[in-house]
């Protein structure tokens, strides 16, 4: 089954990040490494999740004679000492942790340097997954949460056949655009109905709590609200106006780009959402 043509969702789906995964040096010794362990380089889809890389990594480091017999779910990742949330998409984690503004004059920090850990899972900072299937469960829960925001129920997801529901996750891990988008298209387009609320989350620097509010796609007069309007409503101090020219120090970043602020929020949601159906907006300050 082929998905409807959309160059934007296609480009987002094809977006990848080169990542350099290095083994924590003290752990390497503890795991029986006798020589220096070379890092593993991978080009990972921005829309994917770290647990989907774990089996490759395990094989690579296993071939280096590392003695690790634990479960895949024990393997975790960090950047500069901050554990990475495995249930966030990789692209979101990159935008959030590098804080790289695409409009700056310096080149992006690539490949992205991430440390892999096989020991001492930080259960106080990360959710402990019971099994590797947890990624799929968390992903499907996000899709249902998004559906609830759009429709006040999860009927649209629950009315998908078992096969179609499975196709969402299968399409994602097997990197099959048509498999995923032929089903997901029905969800994000909401069968042509205007959604009640837009599924979105906003991430601010300095460990501010994540913001999620019921965001209406229309104003009181039924006119479409723009991305700029929404940012101005939720973060008036950082976006003193909904117009692009007046917002000099804060910039929203989605999939590593700064989107047009005058784009209707419903269009942004349909085209720029991650596979979990949420618009994940990282707000960065200064250049």
């Amino acid at each position: 089954m082929t998905a409807p043509q959309n160059p934007i969702t296609r480009a987002i789906w094809d977006g990848t990040l080169p990542i350099k995964l290095s083994l924590d040096t003290t752990e390497a010794a503890a795991l029986g490494a006798k020589t220096i362990i070379e890092p593993y380089f991978i080009e990972a889809p921005r829309c994917s999740y770290f647990p989907l890389l774990t089996s490759q990594l395990r094989k690579y480091f296993g071939d280096m004679m590392l003695n690790f017999i634990g479960d895949d779910a024990e393997i975790w990742y960090d950047v500069d000492g901050t554990p990475l949330k495995w249930h966030y998409p990789i692209g979101l984690l990159y935008d959030l942790h590098t804080g790289y503004r695409p409009d700056s004059n310096s080149p992006p920090p690539l490949p992205w340097s991430v440390t892999v850990h096989f020991k001492d899972f930080p259960a106080d900072k990360l959710i402990r997954a019971q099994a590797i299937d947890a990624t799929q469960d968390f992903f499907m829960s996000m899709i249902k949460e998004a559906d609830f925001l759009r429709n006040g129920s999860t009927k649209k997801v629950m009315n998908l056949s078992k096969n179609d529901q499975t196709q969402l996750w299968d399409g994602l891990w097997s990197k099959n655009y048509d498999r995923f988008w032929s089903v997901n298209y029905r969800l994000v387009m909401n069968d042509g109905q205007m959604p009640r609320h837009i599924p979105l989350r906003i991430y601010l620097p300095d460990n501010c709590p994540v913001l999620q509010e019921p965001v209406s796609p229309l104003d009181d007069n039924g006119n479409p609200l723009t991305l700029g309007d929404v940012l101005h409503q939720i973060l008036p101090e950082l976006f003193p106006s909904s117009l692009p020219s007046e917002n000099s120090f804060a910039a929203p970043v989605i999939h590593g780009v700064i989107p047009q602020l005058d784009m209707p929020i419903v269009r942004a949601s349909q085209n720029l959402c991650y596979p979990d159906n949420f618009l994940h907006i990282v707000v960065l300050l200064g250049i």
């Binding site: 249930h87 959710i127 829960s141 609830f148 999860t154 709590p209 003193p240 120090f249």
Partner: protein
Amino acid sequence: MSIANSDTTTFPNNSSSSTSLNTNLVENVNPQVSLNPATALEKYKKKDSSKVVVRFRAIGNAPILKQNFYKITASNKFQAVIQFLRKELNYKASDPLFLYINSAFSPAPDEIVANLHKCFSTDQHLIINYCTSAAWG
């Protein structure tokens, strides 16, 4: 002559209007420049100390609580709600327990109660269903 006159009369008008436009621009720009992004962030960093009502509903053969609604600090993560319910039910970490919002979906433990309440509450109550086997998996 009359044309020249009208030109000279409109010219100063134009220049005065452009001066006032400039002043407007400066007035618009100034508050932004003086706005310190760090101070703006402080506001969003502050923990919400307000409390919200959560209402627990048992599903299937899950034990019923004596009291089914509680006030919970809004800035808590959903993890705190899970732990609270486990304690109330005297459940060990190994006992299976599944929590859902509005009989519909299971939020991640790191989602913030305030956000869930803002987005999904009914009559100011956040309705949490719980059961001992996966229900709306």
